[in-house]
Amino acid sequence: MVSPGLDLELSFSQALQGLGLSPEAARLLWLPLPMLLVLVAAVVGVLVSVWLERKISAAVQQRIGPQYAGALGILQPLADGLKLLVKEDIIPARADSILFTLGPILVVIPVIVSWLIIPFGQNLLISNVGVGIFLWIAFSSIQPIGLLMSGYASNNKYSLLGGLRAAAQSISYEIPLALAVLAIVMMSNSLSTVDIVNQQTGAGILSWNIWRQPVGFLIFWICALAECERLPFDLPEAEEELVAGYQTEYAGMKFALFYLAGYINLVLSAVLVSVLYLGGWGFPIPVEWLAGWLGQPIDAPVVQVITGSVGIVMTVLKAYLLVFVAILLRWTTPRVRIDQLLDLGWKFLLPLSLVNLLVTAALKLAFPVAFGG
């Protein structure tokens, strides 16, 4: 069932070895390429999301939104980025300058490193690590430290409160999130993201995990929104109460790092929802069937390139559909209070995710065919 698919690394290293390089040197030359590509993809993803956010919020509020910078204002995010880049970088006089600088860096690095495990196809990912999705959960647990650090270092009561809130929120929602992922892992018998997607490729859209894990899907989506600090869960930066939370004292590029981390995290969460629940790179109708109906062998180079491209397009399309939902939610829902937030996390989502895990385990024992025996 599983076709070997495109393996760019193998082709690249064979081409270089043909030029007389050793396999190790070829690997060393290969390593930076996917990393650079993913970094660029993440940043472009952020620019697109910022543009979408501006346009969709404008449509929600019956405005036009940006329209002079490029066609349909498509260059507006670039202008925003450029503005932040050349803005003066202010460190408040009584702030702790080392921690103040280190905070935003600690927030943005784990999010970017997490792109390591995002698969766009059978071999189209930086590294198919065995602990895959667990690595992402571990990395996202580093973020609260950066938030606490910047909140503390700003020497501002709003910043400190915002930092504490952000850390508390991200810890509370990490547990139901991890339990929802655990139910998926139990079904696919593997932590690797590639295996999780492969387990959903059997019958196209019908075999996607969302039909088997509807509750898990909702829990994961709510928790992902809370982890990204999006409305209705943007308490750490509630303007009416905390000015801008832990970002209050930040300006210029350091502020841009928080902004970037938030949007990269949003896109990353959306991609992960599509990987875990919506069949990842899978087309609603399996490409193997389509190739069979068209009478093409699935291993032919042209078909391989086409299926690879379809995989990338599907991953991005599913992810941006979810980003669209997140943006709509942001501009249509009011913010919850801090006690409602913690009640929802600890008293509702946590028990619900435990029940979900238990039911998944029972179903796996009862119907091993449908729930991955």
């Binding site: 190790e24 040197a25 060393l28 921690l99 690590v129 065995g130 602990v131 667990f134 690595l135 959960i137 571990a138 990395f139 647990s141 580093i142 609260p144 430290i145 606490l148 650090m149 503390y152 400190l160 504490l164 850390a167 508390a168 810890i171 990490e174 932590l191 006690d339």
Partner: protein, 200 residues
Amino acid sequence: MTIATTTELICFLVLSAVVVFGALGVVLLSNIVYSAFLLGGVFTAVAGLYLLLNASFVAAAQILVYVGAINVLILFAIMLVNKREDLKAIANLGVRRAVSGGVCLGLFALLVRVVVTTPWNLPGPPAVGEEATARIGEHLFTDYLLPFELASVLLLMAMIGAIVLARRDVLAKDVVTGETADQALIEKARTPLLLERRSS
């Protein structure tokens, strides 16, 4: 020496330096917040060492548990208990430091002796790599089942203790002063301010 082993050696040296100097910083720095953040750095570097030993699951668990949970908890404790009180100057500080330094050096000497005299079985058994996750799970549910369950009972006890301490209404008397606690003050109903005003 191949490229892979050179990279491994460089990574090992850098991570060890971070662990050693970070740990020294945790103990020696006078600012407790810096110590707590450095502790997080040390934990992360230890996770890097696990990764070098081909134990990626243990490395990820180390980051999740030690950096993501324990270190954040320590930071929370430091930032919530923000009492500024001037501590009394401790008498004979120099003597105390010399004694504690001596104890630490003695312990260090003992550890070095253990490291030098033990006949290490080199090279050790081959790393299981990706299989480790399944292997750890098997061990936890077969020959290490009792310690695993005991640890969970211990955590449950700690959790119940924390809840009892946090919910003061269980205690009828104030622990510190011995006076009867005002229950209405402790268990204040959580009603929105606006609703309260409208009803009165």
